[in-house]
Symmetry: C2
Subunit: 151 residues, 2 copies
Amino acid sequence: MRIEEAIKQNKPFSSEFQKAIVNLVYTASWWNQVATRLLRPFGISQEQYNILRILRGMGDQPATIKTLTERMLDNNSNASRLVEKLKKKALVERLECPMDRRRVDITITAKGLQLLDETASIMDGNIHSNFAHLTEEESLQLNELLDKMRG
Amino acid sequence: MRIEEAIKQNKPFSSEFQKAIVNLVYTASWWNQVATRLLRPFGISQEQYNILRILRGMGDQPATIKTLTERMLDNNSNASRLVEKLKKKALVERLECPMDRRRVDITITAKGLQLLDETASIMDGNIHSNFAHLTEEESLQLNELLDKMRG
DNA sequence: CAACATTCAATGTATAGACATATATTTGCA
DNA sequence: TGCAAATATATGTCTATACATTGAATGTTG
């Protein structure tokens, strides 16, 4: 569905660029809803999921809050509080960093890794089959345009 | 900056499509931050701004909460509460619909229209000059890809 | 027309983002 | 060394999304 129909806009946009901004926000919101629903059965939010993925990507190396903040998609989000919630679910561990007591070393637990495994087919496989209305070539174009848009 | 650098991802994405999903969320978050900062001096949030724009677009016709919900970019957002906040700022009016007392007719006030006028140069003009790293042709492509992505 | 279903809006509760501020620790340098 | 600046994290407060539920008004149908 074209963006104009999606938001029932009858007047034309003042430019393709203006439309692209609206389309970007709308499409991100659309995706957000999809992802939220996919993750709901696992009891975690997209943001918490994202943190678990980053932690797994660190391998043996622990992450600090700072590291997470830098790598999170929304880097104004509050890594401290998200980590706190993950800790309550025993999905991550938090240890005072011995080198620098200001820091906190965060690692994913076995339970956290297991949860990621359980989400894999839905979050990786299914997405591609159910939502991949773009070919690889189109996805590549989209990536280039989004990168360019941010300047 | 390419998305991999932006989120300091060292491992390659499993596919261009997976990367596009991450890029979409990241770029929307980037835009969200830009817009939030642009609107902050005017004392309204992006969502409230969006509602004002929809109301202005209605012309003389009033909008109901339902109408707003349908047209909002994030249609899970809570139009009732956003309207309530706009009303407190005297930017909109809310009247019981005489035809159907379940409904509420919402209209933008003169003050609301004035606020939109004040934001115009920043939200319309400036965006294009400061953030339009895309040409019209590229914006068009982006629109097509985003529309296609949603299926 | 009465009973039931549907629609519209509001609200309760959980999660998260935006931003300022607080607190502890470390660094740097006079 | 001592003290100010910088850094890392946590927290307070406002705003907003996600979703279930409530309650009033209206539609529908036997």
